[in-house]
Symmetry: D2
Subunit: 305 residues, 4 copies
């Protein structure tokens, strides 16, 4: 049961000029590319937006730029990325002032918490912030898996408005879908690019794919096929997108895992002429010419250039 | 492309009398229950069969008993569960002599290997054993994830005939399905009970659900719906089975994770009158009366008793 | 070979009033207690100082307060706790302006890096900040172990002035001591309270024990015994301190691991009359009366109250 | 308080001929080399003995050969390496029949247990086997850390006679030493080659170093210095042995972690003329000529060839 947020909500990447500064023109182009592709919302300051690497001034610039380019077209769901409760609240206040329609919050990190502290964490943020909160379950970064029963409890109590799942745990994802089925206005998103058809078949309301920066229209077709109950078509579209996703493996260990995925998305957008440079945030390496050529080949065989 | 093994292939549980000895009469009943439920094969000496806990004599008794009860009705895929190459080969020879149609092999465990050693491991076993080999990817036990490209390479070279995936990594599972699509006679099974519809939508050939001991006919209906392209029906059947799967959470921390799942399957079969006792292998605790009552309630609301 | 920093350098705790605000009077008392105890420096804004939980304003207040109470008595080594390179640099500039004599930096966290990025990370910070940098190896928080050869290389190149080791890996700690032996002005500290005698026997220059807040004089005696070559005395003092360290186990699972240790140090200081309240940062639970009584008993049997 | 086992008790390596068969002549030479080096016991069928890779017939041959070469000179502590309780008991009976004076047992592996099951595991083995049992704490292989309070409880109840610690957790090791101090005939060994001086300073009774195969006399000198209270001499000897330990890093990623350490010990013994070949168990790679040359250089600079 969802009335608020559903559909394709990509985590917007953050383009940089070759000198490393944030490229606001390219960022506006990406925003337009996504809206033209039929997305239902924009996830701003997510991992794909390199939020961990942005300074506070850059974070503000990114939200402001996207908000201006979006001009109210779709809702903005903005990450309030900080390590503990009070720091998240301060960050959330900033992004709400800049135009966030909802915020995205992880469990604490670097700090070593437990389930009870995590519950207090979300409840305290909800008490302080007057916008819908999405819990972001990303244990590969936080090293803490949000328990299904905690998410359901927070959903029933109106503390969170939904979940963005990047846990890689499809079993608990399905159980969350089942147990949260009757919570009104509760939206569950998968963050995994290549299993969206299965997630939607299981009842997910939306998808937040980093690869959606590259092919938003493809994800929209996949979502529409699922909505129409044409699951064979949805699976075919998913298989095509899974092939596009092969771009993230082109660096093959030359760069860090973090830099490989985001770098591939940026490089693809550069090849497609949507952004100026594929420059990464420090200290991540930028993909090179050989990797760019390999990515171009994958885009070509999938009709994206 | 598969011609060999597909459909529902449950990992058969190992019933014990209250005194701890293997209960061969109950084991025959379970075998009959599964074949009557429409399974396409039996996975013998798997984790759900408590293979880590069985002595060598018990392993032999279990294979012999199931082979006798099966009487050639469906293929027997048998685990050769040992920690390193030469020990696996000795174990595999034993189970092949007892009637295995195919064997199931994990990467090494306790031993600390790497990808190259794992490739040698599978190639050496293939060279020694004249039966199809399924690679069993179960990092929660082996603490080693089988890389997708290794599995594809071993498949193309005819070293392995397929994969049983219990990795909990649905992203790499989908990529394996895509990359192995054109390998003839290569069968990929999911071991996860609650995401079978998505796995089949992505192209999996079969499913090896521990819960299939309890409700083989339900998994058969799910598989048939998927084969017929009726994905909405498949998802409904999956959601029902996910509710049945709630039996594994009834102990709620009183017993170990290993004992909870297997204990729930045994207890359900006892409640259903198919096995005599829900006694577990040493040193696992057996589920108690309160847990049995909770399991009975779940079975009742799903029409299984 | 060290001329810069050695001896006992405790990570100063951050006292709070019962209402949760930072208690600067108590913080000055703690600072005085430590200097009176014979410490060689103060580690400010460390994990024991609850730095992950402090807002930016609170971080500034803490550094300012300690700097004022210290009045140049001992060097201040201050944590620049942020998740990526540019954010660390901004944080480091702030604490240097507030009086830091050296800064402490971890590898990136939440961000997913690798060894090459980590090397760039430290080199970039060194290029931007004109103070000695200590690498803080704390994989339980960062989930990244700083490799020994990277630390040695950064030390030889003058990028880092030393290491604070909280890795829990005594094998690599010993190898670091050996390999860095001939680097001038390179100081290696252990952060583990109960193995200081062995660390000093292996050649460590200093110790940064959270428990040093409670018993700085005890750690000073241990350090002096080691300097004098009286290892039997050092081991006896260490065993006594290991018994005092039992205070951290009094909550026995009631609070998170993070809250247990820090809460025990605060509670001990409250029992000793040095700070007003044992209140913890949100969302951590504060130790209760039963735990306080248990801690008092441990302090009593060790002659600390 | 220990009267039973103390001193240097190396885990004996298993030499193989170039064709892969166990080389009993070389194994006898190693045994003699160790006894001549002044060891207090022999740990047979340990990880350094490649026990995970030995077939059952090879395990029997190894124990028999060492027992014969030892001829009662020192006690034999033998690993009963199996994955669950009843399988350990069967294995333990075999090695006791072959001459074990004590057995070494890990927690379960591959099986997924918990603390309560682990306690039952050790108690059941003790009830079945009439020899002292050493608990072997090796979470890098079992992925389960034996809790300190469990070890102390099992020690007080006479279930285990001691602990072989290869946990890499020096903090819990020190706490175990303190808490077990008053248990009669309870012996605690460290398995870490480069922190033996600190372990002995903290009160350990013995050491089980894989590197002890190469330089038993060095470890004996270290132990004797510690017994004599000459800790500066102990630390110097330890630093020298830590330099010898550098042999394990010569393969630098070419072989698996498991193969690097054991391969280096075997290669050193081959260079020293004590064993015929450095051949490893399948599927581990054997160290090559370049690595052998590097190992020879390390041995030479430490006076071992």
């Amino acid at each position: 049961m969802s009335t608020q947020f559903q559909g394709v909500i990509p985590p917007v990447i953050t383009p940089r000029h070759a000198d490393g500064s944030v490229d606001t023109d390219s960022l506006k182009n990406v925003t337009k590319h996504l809206i033209d592709g039929g997305v239902a919302g924009l996830f701003v300051l997510g991992s794909s937006g390199e939020v961990p690497y942005l300074t506070n001034a850059e974070r503000e610039l990114v939200v402001t730029t996207i908000a201006e380019a979006n001009a109210g077209a779709v809702p903005l769901i903005v990450g309030a990325n900080e390590q503990t409760t009070n720091r998240v609240i301060e960050e959330a206040r900033k992004v709400v002032d800049l135009g966030a329609d909802a915020i995205v919050v992880t469990s604490m990190y670097y700090a070593i918490g437990n389930v009870a502290e995590t519950e207090t964490h979300f409840r305290s943020i909800h008490a302080a912030i007057d916008k819908p909160i999405f819990a972001y379950d990303v244990p590969v970064r936080t090293h803490f898996k949000l328990p299904t029963d905690l998410l359901v409890r927070l959903g029933r109590d109106g503390v969170i408005a939904g979940v963005k799942d990047s846990s890689g745990d499809d079993v608990s994802f399905r159980q969350l879908l089942l147990q949260a089925k009757d919570i009104p206005n509760f939206d569950i998103f998968t963050g995994h690019e290549v299993v969206v058809d299965g997630a939607l078949l299981g009842g997910a309301q939306g998808v937040v794919p980093g690869l959606g920066n590259v092919d938003p229209a493809g994800y929209r077709r996949l979502f529409d096929a699922a909505q129409a109950g044409d699951w064979a078509l949805a699976a075919r579209e998913q298989d095509r997108l899974a092939d596009v996703f092969e771009i993230v493996y082109t660096p093959n260990g030359r760069v860090s895992g973090g830099a490989a995925g985001l770098g591939a998305f940026k490089t693809a957008l550069q090849v497609m002429g949507i952004i100026e440079s594929n420059t990464m945030s420090q200290p991540m390496l930028t993909l090179n010419d050989a990797e760019t050529a390999a990515i171009r080949a994958i885009l070509e065989r999938n009709g994206l250039v």
